[in-house]
């Protein structure tokens, strides 16, 4: 394994650790939980397909999901990506995106915050700057 691959793996692992709550990390240390490897949607595949679909948000692909969300063109498209997500996964994603959430926030509220922070702000900026008035 060459140096660059090692660095890349470590970077991915660091990002993953950063996205996990302290409790999960402690559970991994205690042996109550473990890391698993799952298939994820590759970045180059996403670029080819204009409307990528993800069935389920899992912790290992949250970072890629961030990229997918920022490439959407409408709130609806972003909402579709998050459609089947669990609250715990969305909370993790919000943490990665540095979006403030509160424990009392509902699933829909967290989705709304994520959508606003990834595509919503661009849409409102375009709406104002492109208006005729």
């Amino acid at each position: 394994m060459n140096k660059n691959i090692c660095i890349n793996l470590l970077q991915q692992f660091t990002k993953l650790l950063d996205s996990l709550p302290e409790d999960d990390i402690e559970d991994v240390i205690k042996g109550k939980k473990c890391f698993t490897i799952e298939n994820i949607v590759r970045k180059d595949e996403v670029i080819v397909k204009k409307k990528p679909k993800i069935d389920k948000v899992v912790s290992t692909n949250l970072i890629n999901l961030e990229e997918l969300l920022t490439k959407t063109h409408s709130r609806h498209e972003a909402e579709e990506l998050l459609k089947d997500s669990k609250k715990i996964d969305l909370q993790k994603l919000a943490r990665i995106l540095d979006i403030p959430i509160q424990s009392r926030d509902t699933l829909n509220k967290i989705k709304e915050r994520i959508v606003e922070s990834t595509i919503g702000f661009k849409l409102r900026s375009q709406a104002i700057q492109n208006s005729d008035s």
Binding site: D98, I99, P100, F121, K122, R124, I128, Q129
Partner: protein, 314 residues
């Protein structure tokens, strides 16, 4: 001599505090700065001149409104004759020994009415005449600034009102740079979009209309957005609180230049400074929080100098 307009479409974002502190610190560093208060609320004026003094010595004769009134009535009135040197702040500035100064052209609570008068002068009998009138009306301040000796100042800072009326457009037309103070919240960041859109529209219109002007003495305009300085920041352990961070990062993602230094909210320190005529950055309190706030302003001013590339005319 460089001209910078300080503006946001949204009011209450700390625009006047930014202008006063920026001007004062630059003067402390040795720059010769002229503040031009174009906001009818006259907050910048009252940050350096007490309202009763303003009423007795300036209101009827020495404000930017009087100049606009005289000019719209075809009078001959030099903008430089309105320049005043606020004594309290300049006493502090002189202590630096750097040779800087901070002058002011005061505003007037009646400035809001000037816009109506200017608007009546926009009409023309033909399309060509209307476009020529447009240029004349929007060029008033730029023409007026020509009466100010280029060697007297390094920088003119214009405190604009939170709107885009003809008075504001006059400021933009004569500006090299635009500085946008903004609070990191939803409505203030929308104000940035409104402002950018309005500036683009003005620049496009103005430069298009120049083609109709027979005299070639009117130059095209190209004011640069210098950047957004975030104000009234609430910090937690030295970083902005989580609820405002998204607005900062979103503004950056939209491609705007952001000043690295962010100015925190502190009513104890910022609220009373204008009352005593010396901006926060020049007050020498030993309190640690005050020192941190002063350092934030100084860092912002350093970045302003780098971005705007203003030069001292020794």
């Amino acid at each position: 001599m460089q001209v910078t307009s300080v503006i946001n479409y949204k009011g209450g974002v700390g625009k006047t505090s930014v202008t006063a502190n920026l001007g004062a610190e630059l003067a402390w560093l040795g720059y010769r700065v002229l503040l031009l208060d174009m906001d009818a609320q006259a907050s910048l004026t009252f940050s350096f001149i007490k309202p009763e003094v303003w009423q007795q010595q300036y209101a009827n004769s020495k404000t930017i409104k009087k100049w606009f009134d005289a000019i719209t009535q075809q009078g001959n009135f030099s903008l430089e004759s309105l320049v005043t040197t606020p004594e309290i702040v300049n006493t502090e500035i002189r202590k630096s020994g750097n040779g800087g100064k901070l002058d002011l052209i005061p505003s007037d609570l009646g400035l809001i009415n000037v816009d109506l008068e200017l608007a009546t002068q926009l009409a023309g009998a033909s399309l060509k005449q209307a476009k020529i009138n447009y240029l004349k009306v929007h060029n008033r301040l730029a023409d007026g600034l020509k009466s100010i000796n280029d060697n007297h100042y390094d920088l003119i800072l214009i405190d604009c009102p939170p709107n885009f009326n003809i008075v504001t457009k006059n400021a933009i037309v004569c500006s090299d740079n635009i500085l946008i103070p903004a609070k990191p919240d939803y409505l203030s960041t929308l104000g940035i979009d409104y402002l950018i859109k309005s500036v683009k529209k003005l620049v496009a219109e103005y430069n298009e209309f120049i083609k109709f002007e027979d005299e070639s003495n009117i130059k095209s305009i190209d004011p640069k957005i210098l950047g957004v300085v975030f104000t009234m920041i609430e910090n937690n352990r030295g970083v902005p609180i989580s609820s405002i961070r998204p607005y900062i990062s979103q503004t950056e993602k939209l491609g705007l230049s952001i000043f690295k230094s962010k100015l925190r909210d502190n009513k104890n320190i910022y609220a009373e400074a204008p009352q005593y005529g010396v901006p926060v950055v020049l007050n020498k309190y030993s309190n640690p929080t005050h020192k941190e706030i002063v350092q934030e302003i100084k860092d912002f001013v350093d970045q302003f100098i780098t971005k705007s590339r203003i030069l001292k005319n020794e």
